[in-house]
Amino acid sequence: MQFDSFSAFLAMGGYGFYVWLSYGVTALLLVILLINSKSQNKAVIKHIIARQKRENKLRQAAALQKQQQAQLSPADVITTANNDSNEVLS
């Protein structure tokens, strides 16, 4: 132990400001970097999940329409199917 008391530890032999500035800035920058890295990771995961859910929903909706059209007469199916595919594309 190099220091007699806690106040001597804080004073750092007169260099307290510079020593604690260095340690403070280092800790601050590293915490910012760590939080930024983690939040970017979460944002990317969230983005991929949201897009995938949207795709699944579209696919399910398309499947449902196909099912409904199968119950209609064959002539109707062809015209509605064409319309629907246009809608999906647009």
Partner: protein, 258 residues
């Protein structure tokens, strides 16, 4: 060796491998950083000339060393991605740039806070300080190029070329204290032969050095895995990994049933 390395060119294998490494890195970083920094702040002796301000050394020197070695690692990754078109090494290079920039900034700021009491000035335009500042700008340029293009391959190429051109700065930083007259002192730790430090100062330095090394590994792993996910977001393995498998599989089943 190539056969052993080969599976790690597969993003899925690398994603899971780095995921397994991270808890170990976290534990080791916590152990070494807490031992090293408490030792450096409380138990290490004061320097006979510089007094207690010497405790900045335990941050400044590891940060400066890592600012250069991360750049070197980034340059190796950029070289591999430019020559062999390895997509993963491009992801690695882009993951390393912000970490290196942070450590360069830490080296510069702690250096200024050390220079003020010892040299009487926060900053001088001497060779060591200026070349380290150029290193920071190189990192920022590489980060900007990685984010400047929608097309990740194009961005990787542009950033990779800048990275490789900037390698010329590394020997300039390293030998600047020998080639030019400067206020900055010469190498203390990495001198060939006997390191000019007492063991009482060397051990806390080594501990905090290792602590920073593992901390850097964790952060690079996190960023690397983010890059892998965003670059492979359309692959089936990413979809299976991220989406609850029951929901996606039932969706698939209903589709098939219809």
């Amino acid at each position: 060796m190539w056969k052993w390395l080969h599976p790690y060119a597969n993003p899925e294998v690398t994603y899971h491998f780095t995921g397994k490494l991270m808890p170990w890195f976290s534990a080791l970083a916590a152990i070494f950083l807490s031992i090293g920094l408490v030792w450096a702040l409380v138990f290490a002796p004061a320097d006979y000339q510089q007094g207690e301000s010497f405790r900045i050394f335990y941050l400044h020197v590891p940060a400066a060393m890592f600012s250069m070695s991360i750049y070197f690692a980034m340059a190796v990754a950029a070289f591999c991605s430019l020559v062999w078109q390895l997509k993963l090494s491009d992801a690695a290079a882009s993951a390393m740039a912000p970490v290196g920039a942070t450590f360069t900034a830490i080296a510069l700021i702690t250096g200024a806070a050390w220079g003020k009491p010892m040299w009487g000035t926060w900053w001088i335009w001497d060779a060591r300080l200026t070349s380290e500042l150029i290193l920071l700008f190189l990192y920022l340029g590489v980060m900007a190029l990685h984010n400047a293009f929608e097309d990740k391959n194009l961005a990787g190429k542009a950033a990779g070329i800048l990275t490789l051109v900037g390698v010329i700065n590394l020997p300039i930083i390293k030998y600047s204290v020998e080639w030019w007259n400067t206020l900055h002192q010469g190498a203390t730790v990495s001198k060939l032969g006997k390191p000019s430090m007492t063991a009482e100062m060397f051990w806390p330095f080594l501990m905090s050095f290792l602590g920073f090394a593992f901390l850097i590994s964790i952060i690079i792993c996190i960023r690397f895995r983010t890059e892998i996910l965003s670059r492979n977001s359309m692959r089936p393995w990413v979809k299976e990994l991220l989406l609850p498998p029951t929901a996606s599989s039932t969706a698939g089943e209903t589709n098939n049933a219809v």
